[in-house]
C-alpha cells in the first residue's frame, strides 16, 4: 500500500502524529489531531485513523487513550535533513506569531497552533536556553518600539514565551493591563491582593496593579537580540 494513495488529510494526520510523538514522547489524542489538522469532529479523526489502520500505516489499541503506534513503513516523506538533524541536536523551532508592543495586546498563537507554520516564521532556539519545556507551548514575538526598555528589551528583539495564564513570583511575564490598555514585560510578584510588577532594569521602580487587573499572557523564557 502506497503513501501516495492516502488523502491529503490522512497524510497530514500521519505527519502530525509523527511530529507530535517526537516532540512529546507520547502520541496525540483524537482531539489534538483534530485541532492540528483542522477537523471539527472527533468522529472524523477516528474515521481516518481507522482508514490508516486498514492501509497499514498505523496500529490502534482500542479504548486506550493515545493508543496509537506508527508502523515502520518506508520513510514516507523524508523530513528535510536540517529538521531531522536539528531534532537530534536539541534545536527547537519556535513559531514567530507576531509582534509585541506596549500599545496592543499580546498576539497569541491561533488554534492551529504548533504545527503548520512557514519555515520563514520559525525562530531557532537551542534547547539549552529554555530547558525541558514543552515545545508546543512555546512561541516567539518580535518587539516593536522602545516601550519595553525598562525590561531591558529593545526594538527588534525576539522574546521567547511559554503560553501560560498563571505566574509564580519572580517569573518574568508578558501581561496585559486592561485598565491601562497596555502590554508590558515585568517580573511578577503577587503581594496580597495586588501585584507588583518589577522592571528587569534594577534602576526602575515597580508598578502596582490590582490582581484582577493583571492578565498574564505568557512567561518569558528567553530574549534574543541580533545585531545587524
Amino acid at each position: 500500500m502506497e503513501y501516495n494513495k492516502l488523502s491529503t488529510r490522512q497524510k497530514k494526520i500521519l505527519d502530525f502524529i509523527e511530529s507530535f510523538l517526537r516532540d512529546n514522547g507520547f502520541p496525540p489524542t483524537i482531539r489534538e489531531i483534530g485541532e492540528a489538522v483542522n477537523i471539527a469532529s472527533t468522529s472524523v479523526v477516528n474515521y481516518n485513523l481507522n482508514k490508516l489502520v486498514e492501509r497499514g500505516f498505523l496500529e490502534r489499541a482500542p479504548e486506550v487513550s493515545r493508543g496509537l503506534r506508527l508502523i515502520n513503513q518506508e520513510d514516507h516523506q523524508p523530513k528535510e535533513m536540517g529538521v531531522a538533524i536539528a531534532d537530534m541536536t536539541h534545536l527547537f523551532q519556535v513559531p514567530l506569531v507576531g509582534k509585541i508592543a506596549a500599545s496592543a495586546p499580546v498576539p497569541l498563537p491561533g488554534e492551529d497552533f504548533g504545527y503548520y507554520y512557514d519555515s520563514d516564521d520559525m525562530i531557532d532556539v537551542p534547547q539549552a536556553m529554555i530547558g525541558p519545556s514543552h515545545r508546543d507551548e512555546l512561541f516567539a514575538l518580535r518587539v516593536t518600539g522602545d516601550s519595553m526598555i525598562d525590561a531591558m528589551v529593545g526594538d527588534g528583539d525576539i522574546v521567547i514565551l511559554k503560553r501560560q495564564n498563571v505566574a509564580k513570583n519572580g517569573d518574568m511575564v508578558a501581561v496585559w493591563l486592561p485598565e491601562r490598555g497596555e502590554t508590558t514585560l515585568k517580573k511578577y510578584y503577587l503581594e496580597g491582593k495586588r501585584v507588583r510588577l518589577q522592571p528587569a532594569n534594577p534602576m526602575m521602580d515597580p508598578i502596582y496593579v490590582n490582581a484582577d487587573q493583571v492578565s498574564v499572557q505568557g512567561r518569558v523564557l528567553a530574549i534574543l537580540r541580533t545585531l545587524h
Copy 2:
C-alpha cells in the same frame, strides 16, 4: 542525581515504563504501572512518579493520559559527535571564555582557541542568529553587574562576539577605554578624529572619545538572555 538513590520501587517503575514504551509505542497509565509493580493504590504510583520527576528521571504532562516522558540521564554524546553534528546543522557552539564587566578589560580567547573547551562552557547559538560568520573567531562572555544597562544588557546576559579590532560605523562593539579604565558595549561611529559611542538605549546620551583612546575588542553579534 544518581540512579542508585532511587528506591527499589522507583527503579521498577522506571524500568517498566521503559519496557512498556518499547513494547507499545506509548507510555503506560498510572494503573498499568501499579499492576506491573504491585502497587495497590493509584495515588502511590502518582506519588512515586512525582518523586521521579523531582529527581530528573521523568517529565509529566499534567492532566494528560499517559503523559510521561523519560529523561535520558546518560545521554551526553561524546564531544566529537556533538561537534560533528553541529557542523552539519545550523547550530554553532561558541566558547564561553569569561565574564565582562565595566570595571575590567574584555577577556579574549587564548591561542588554543576553539578546540579545548569543556562542553560545559560552550554556548549553543543558531547560525541564523549570527549570519555567515567565521566560527573560529566567535566567543561568548557572560555579563556581570548592571553597568551595561545603557546597552540594554543586564546581569547574566550572554554576549556573542566576533573577535576584531576594527569596527564599521553602526557596529555594536565591545571597547576598552584605557583613559577611563573601562569596558563598555556601544554603537561605534567614527566622526573625524573622535569616536561617538552611542548606547543602544535611545534614551541615553552618547559619549565622545578620541579615536586613539578607543580599543575595539570585538563586535557584538548577538545577545542571549535566559530567564529563570
